[in-house]
């Protein structure tokens, strides 16, 4: 199996150590003949401020790797360190803290709570931190303006287009000023034009907020915007 990678130096890579460190991670679902080796001996480092595009065919293990980095899944072997916290050994409380303070997710299907308005969805992470109402509302408005959805603050997901929903999801992901943004095929359900806009937005906020991002994608635009591209095939990192 051939590993290929295209790297571009990140802004803070030299100044700090890696924000994300993945070492020899294995993850297998099922057992026996039905076992699926989602990840096999995957090692990866992501520097602060870096935007990494994670590419691979469907079933190659992208989502598993992202979930493992974000603490939503535990590796069977190896370790994952994010912002100095060893994710793979964190307890439930530590994981919650990690997700609230360090990591933010953007999902392919947007992951908005259907019964909440755009503003309320963006405010969800702030509520988890019990941010004062005035501060929360100001922050939500700022983020919605940032993603260009200020006028749509009171609309529910069902009243927004796919691109708008994903922008709301991005605004929500930025609400707590995370250090790491994990996006799992954020343009997967968008048309190419909207996808490009979303990708540009991610690129922009990564740069503006100085955060690190790992984005799984098939989108060549996103690949082009990434600082580095990592390829996964059959659960193996073929080029890092």
């Amino acid at each position: 199996m051939t590993a290929t990678s295209t790297a571009r130096p990140g802004p803070d890579q030299a100044a700090d150590g890696p924000l994300v460190l993945v070492e020899h991670v294995d993850r297998t679902y099922g057992s026996g003949h039905a076992a699926v080796h989602a990840l096999q001996d995957v090692s990866l480092e992501v520097a602060p401020g870096e935007l990494v595009a994670l590419v691979g065919r469907s079933g190659s293990g992208k989502t598993t790797l992202l979930n493992t980095i974000g603490g939503l899944d535990r590796p069977d072997a190896g370790r994952v360190v994010v912002a100095g916290r060893e994710v793979s050994s964190l307890d439930e409380k530590g994981l919650v803290s990690l997700r609230r303070d360090v990591v933010a997710f953007v999902f392919q299907t947007f992951g908005l709570v259907p019964v909440l308005t755009a503003a309320e969805n963006v405010g969800v992470p702030l509520r988890m931190l019990r941010t004062p109402v005035a501060q929360r509302e100001a922050r939500v408005q700022l983020l919605l303006d940032l993603v260009g959805l200020g006028p749509h603050a009171q609309q529910r997901p069902g009243q927004l287009s796919g691109g708008q929903q994903q922008r709301v999801a991005i605004a929500r992901a930025l609400a707590n000023s995370p250090r790491l943004l994990i996006a799992d095929e954020p343009t997967g359900q968008l048309d190419s034009e909207t996808g490009r806009a979303v990708m540009a937005l991610i690129r922009a906020v990564v740069e503006a907020e100085g955060m690190t991002a790992i984005v799984s994608t098939h989108d060549p635009v996103m690949v082009a915007l990434a600082d580095r591209v990592v390829h996964l095939a059959d659960g193996r990192l073929v080029d890092a």
Partner: protein, 1100 residues
């Protein structure tokens, strides 16, 4: 394998938990409905036979009384038995025959007045007769051809018969004597009531028996019965009357046989007459028809109660099953989309849904009936149902199978309907919305209609050709109202949710606000939870309230109908005898007090006009309202106030020594010479309980007659009244002439003189009255101070004098003097009387308001009561709703003493004791019952506690409280199951959302808390609405559904028994339980919410 079964098998393998949950919900709900159906079945099949089997023999027996009159005995008996067999049909019976001979005359010094004897062949049971000496007759005659007889011991003593003696007797009207041989003597042991077929009612002797053919002009002594073997009365000229009694074993008979008997009994008299033919005459006496009808009516009442609660339970069960079906539908939605994407047509998808629904419904139907049977079996192993005779037989009754089948069909439909829309219908949402809107309106309309009909009709029973029947619409009313209330309650969620929404927006946290948003903005989930909670809480609270109302009403009906704690009715003993027994029974028991009571139906009308209206008179001691029962909230004090007339206290009377056996005197009614007529002299004695008994003696005018009255061996007695009733047939010429010529009435002096008034003690051994005159007795002290004397004639009272003369050597003298009026155109009897009390002008009475349906009579107006053949003036003091002991119809409440004295003054018999009422606390009641039994008191004894127990635990009626308890418990269970199903379905639908929230940093406890808060909010809203709706439904419906055992409106009217504290606690308990279930489901569900859930397409 075809693809459809393969899909189903795959689902079962991969989705076993959810399928299992749905199956469990369906089986639970269906089983509970099956249990109720089984209970109804048992009430119908077991309860009626058990109830009929427990009835007292006198209520079901058929007694044919046949006048044989000398014809052939066997022919008469055969015809009678044929007739009874036609009536009883296939019902097994036992027979008892009682034969009574014509009269036989014993040898006598005065041929015209011989002592008479009759023979009887009757069962020699221990509860009827007891052998005193010798043996029972074993054959018709002995070897010498003499009839073997066993004679009453009293007759043997007085007539000097010994065992082995020969007694000669001849049939009355013939001269040829036959020979009897005395083989033994006996005494009566059973109560007098069991001797109703005896000529002397078990009295052994009648010393004033009218000699046949003399129309009472000549009297003799009749003895009997002399017991003989039945063969002695076979043949002709042997039997006067035959009593053939059959006791049907209704409890062992099939329902068809009982129904046939009931039908035959309607024409019982005609059937018996037909079989007896022209040769014999006879009559049939039985209450079996009315008794069966009463039991059937009670069954109808029970059926209505069980059906009402059953429909309510079925509604709740169906609601829960709908929610479970939604859980499955949620699970199936993704699969259906996938199959549709792979090319499955809507028809194919629906066929899978139908197949799965059929499999689940079929499985439910196969399991639930047997589970229901097992539950019912457990319920009937002990407790009230077991005591009532309920037994679960082999197999499952058809009714249970049918009801479970109906529920299974409901399940199948519930499974298909939601899946139908997800399986291809594009108009599902709008269609469902329309259905909901239409359903709301329809339910409200139906519920309102059912309520209106129920309120107007006042009962869920309607009249039918075969008696009352349960109206399906009326019994379904509560369920319809519950559903309507639930749908209306859903409207309450919106405003509550709006408030919660606003509050959530202003909050800092996420958990509770997110719950509020879910409630406010996911109406379908909120509707499901609220619907099941409202229906369950309404069902539970209504069942509890209905059970309480039913129970309280049954007890209140018993209390009012009984009137006291313990009653003696159908008293066969003499008033003074039962009075002494009753007094002894309560002696020394703290808080126990007995009183004689008048309880009889009398004629009633406006003053002097007693027409066709009758009323039940209950006369009690009005100074003791605390002894009366049946008015827990409205004590009887108010009803009784003023019913004792405002007259001076009675004088002491003339006391008799305690051991007095005979009261002996010479009496003479003196009128001017030339007066012709007759008189009756009476002495009235009273015991310490106020029971009066009058001894009368007829006598000619102006002739002294020696009288003796035997006093019963009871406590202290005193003479309280002396009277002479005088009928003048011809006045002295000088008076008659003046009256005739002037046309005006003339006074006639009247004197009653009692001389040698004395008592003879029992110790003197004077067996006969004649002996008493020869014994020196104790003079009665004639202290008449305070006595009131008068001549009563034609409704008027004229003063008279009563004077006692101190005793001389033989006894005291009492002299009454007055004047009666002679009007030759209208001769009226007169009563010269003196009594130890001041008579009242009228008897104050309280009358039930229902009298206004017949007579316009109001307080202050006069009434006339026809009591014991005499007219008594009464005045209405007040109108009352009820009278203790007389719950239905027109009833009159009066003071017993006042009424008895008024009856005495009116010339009637003042010994008005129809019943004895004893007020006693519970432990004392048992002692009183025991003492009365030991005293062999000949009366029906019933206790309020026993009747209360019977009212609640009777075989037929016990099904209603059992059903209500079942529904109350089931409501809680189904609420938990339903809430769990809704929570599981909601969790399933939001699984990905919850996983994403976790990914965003929401903690598991926070999410569980949010789900719990969401569930709790809905449960609390639903429970509050359900509690309110339950109260409303109970307040309106529970009293209407409550009936008397015979299907009539209860008296007193039932009132709602609703304990806010208990109901709130009960509701709170199920709220907490439901919240616990939600928390459990959330804990399990959220645990599974992990990164795996975020993997698209992973539906494990």
């Amino acid at each position: 394998m075809p693809w459809r079964p393969r899909v189903l098998r795959g689902r079962l393998r991969d989705q076993a938990p959810v399928v299992l949950v749905v199956a469990l919900v369906a089986v639970t709900a269906t089983t509970l409905v099956g249990v109720l159906a089984g209970l109804l079945h048992l009430a119908q099949t077991d309860a009626v036979p058990a109830a009929l089997g427990q009835l007292a023999p006198e209520r079901v027996r058929l007694e044919a009384t046949v006048r044989v009159d000398g014809e052939d005995t066997d022919t008469a008996l055969s015809a009678t038995r044929d007739g009874l067999a036609r009536l009883t049909g296939d019902v097994p019976t036992t027979e008892e025959t009682w034969l009574t001979s014509p009269l036989y005359a014993l040898p006598a010094e005065v041929p015209a007045q011989p002592h008479l004897v009759y023979l009887s062949a009757l069962p020699h049971t221990d509860d009827l007769v007891e052998l005193v000496d010798g043996r029972w007759p074993q054959r018709a005659t002995d070897d010498a051809g003499r009839v073997e007889v066993n004679v009453p011991a009293l007759a043997a003593r007085e007539l000097g018969w010994q065992v082995g003696d020969q007694v000669d007797a001849r049939p009355w009207g013939t001269a040829a004597y036959g020979a009897w041989v005395v083989v033994g003597t006996h005494e009566r042991t059973g109560p007098r009531s069991s001797w109703s077929r005896d000529r002397l009612l078990g009295g052994v002797v009648d010393r004033g028996f009218s000699v046949p053919g003399t129309i009472g002009r000549e009297r003799t002594t009749l003895w009997g019965p002399a017991l003989v073997d039945a063969d002695a009365l076979r043949g002709t000229e042997r039997v006067h009357t035959a009593y053939v009694t059959v006791l049907p074993a209704l409890g062992d008979a099939s329902s068809e046989a009982v129904a046939a008997l009931r039908a035959q009994v309607r024409d019982g008299a005609a059937i018996l007459s037909e079989t007896l033919g022209a040769q014999f005459s006879g009559r049939l006496r039985t209450d079996v028809g009315a008794t069966i009808d009463a039991t059937w009516r009670e069954l109808v009442v029970t059926r209505a109660g069980v059906m009402t609660t059953g429909i309510l339970l079925a509604t709740l069960a169906a609601t829960v099953m709908l929610l479970a079906a939604r859980l499955l539908a949620e699970r199936r939605a993704t699969e259906s989309e996938l199959l549709a994407a792979r090319g499955a047509s809507p028809g194919q998808l629906r066929s899978v849904v139908v197949l799965e629904a059929a499999a689940l419904a079929g499985g439910t139907w196969l399991v639930a009936p047997w589970l229901g049977r097992a539950v019912l079996d457990a319920m009937t192993r002990s407790g009230a149902l077991a005591d009532a005779g309920y037994r679960v037989g082999a197999g499952v009754p058809a009714g249970v199978l049918l009801s479970c089948a109906v529920m299974a069909v409901v399940l199948a439909v519930a499974l298909c309907v939601p899946a139908w829309h997800t399986a291809g219908s594009s108009t599902g949402t709008s269609h469902a919305g329309l259905l909901r809107a239409g359903g709301d309106v329809a339910l409200l309309a139906l519920g309102g209609l059912a309520m209106w009909r129920l309120v107007v009709h006042g009962s869920p029973l309607v009249g039918g050709a075969d008696g009352p029947q349960a109206d399906p619409v009326l019994v379904a009313g509560p369920a319809l109202v519950t559903l309507a209330a639930a749908t209306v309650s859903l409207r309450l969620v919106a405003p509550v949710a709006r408030v919660a929404d606003v509050l959530a927006g202003r909050a800092r946290s996420l958990v509770v606000p997110l719950a509020a948003w879910q409630v406010a903005r996911r109406s379908s989930v909120a509707s499901g939870t609220v619907l099941v909670v409202v229906v369950a809480v309404v069902a539970g609270t209504f069942s509890a309230a209905f059970a309480g109302t039913w129970r309280t009403s049954q007890l209140a009906q018993v209390d009012l109908a009984t009137g006291t704690d313990l009653r003696l009715d159908d008293i066969a003993d003499a008033p003074l005898t039962v009075s002494a027994a009753a007094a002894a029974a309560v002696a020394g028991l703290p808080g126990a007090h007995g009183q004689p009571v008048v309880d009889r139906v009398v004629g009633i009308g406006r003053r002097g006009n007693v027409g066709g209206l009758s009323a039940r008179v209950v006369a009690v001691d009005v100074t003791r309202p605390q002894d009366l029962r049946g008015a827990p909230d409205r004590p009887w004090h108010g009803a009784l106030a003023g019913l004792a007339p405002d007259v001076p206290a009675a004088a002491a009377g003339l006391p008799l020594p305690v051991d007095t056996q005979w009261l002996v005197l010479d009496a003479e009614v003196d009128v001017p010479e030339g007066t012709e007529g007759r008189a009756s002299v009476s002495l009235t004695v009273e015991d310490d309980q106020g029971v009066l008994t009058t001894f009368r003696s007829g006598m000619p005018l102006r002739q002294s007659l020696a009288l003796e009255h035997e006093m019963p061996a009871v406590g202290p007695l005193r003479v309280v009244a002396v009277s002479a009733d005088v009928v003048v047939e011809a006045a002295p010429p000088e008076i008659a002439e003046v009256s005739y010529q002037r046309g005006i009435r003339q006074p006639l002096p009247l004197t009653l003189t009692l001389t040698d008034l004395r008592t003879v003690p029992r110790s003197a051994g004077a067996v006969r009255g004649a002996d008493a005159h020869t014994v020196e007795g104790t003079p009665v002290t004639p202290a008449t101070a305070g006595w009131d004397a008068a001549v009563l004639q034609d409704g008027a009272s004229v003063g008279a004098t009563a004077e006692g003369t101190p005793a001389d050597a033989r006894g005291a003298t009492l002299r009454l003097a007055g004047e009666m009026w002679i009007d030759v155109y209208r001769m009226m009897p007169a009563r010269l009387t003196a009594r130890a009390w001041t008579p009242a002008d009228h008897v104050p009475v309280a009358v039930t308001r229902s009298i206004l349906d017949d007579i316009d009579v109001y307080p202050g107006q006069a009434l006339t009561l026809a009591v014991d053949g005499v007219a008594v003036d009464a005045r209405v003091e007040r109108l009352v709703e009820h009278v203790p002991g007389a719950p239905r119809g027109v009833a009159v409440l009066a003071d017993r003493t006042t009424l008895a004295r008024a009856v005495l003054d009116a010339g009637g018999d003042p010994s008005l004791v129809d019943a004895w009422w004893v007020a006693a606390p519970d432990p004392a009641t048992a002692t009183v019952v025991q003492r009365l039994a030991e005293a062999h008191t000949d009366a029906d004894v019933s206790t309020r506690a026993g009747l209360r127990q019977a009212a609640l635990t009777g075989p037929v009626g016990v099904a209603v409280p059992a059903a209500l308890s079942l529904v109350a418990g089931s409501a809680a269970l189904l609420l938990l199951v339903g809430t769990g199903a809704v929570a599981a379905a909601a969790l399933r639908a939001r699984r990905l959302e919850l996983a994403r929230l976790q990914a965003l940093g929401a903690s598991r406890p926070g999410l569980v808390g949010g789900l719990l808060a969401e569930g709790a909010l809905l449960v609390v809203v639903g429970a509050a609405a359900g509690l309110a709706a339950g109260y409303g439904l109970s307040a309106v419906v529970a009293p209407l559904l409550t009936m008397s055992p015979d299907g009539r409106t209860p008296v007193p009217a039932p009132w709602l028994v609703w304990g806010w504290g208990a109901q709130t606690l009960r509701t709170l308990a199920v709220v907490l339980g439901a919240c616990g279930v939600v928390a459990l489901v959330a804990l399990v569900g959220v645990r599974r919410t992990s990164g795996a859930a975020l993997r698209m397409g992973d539906d494990r």
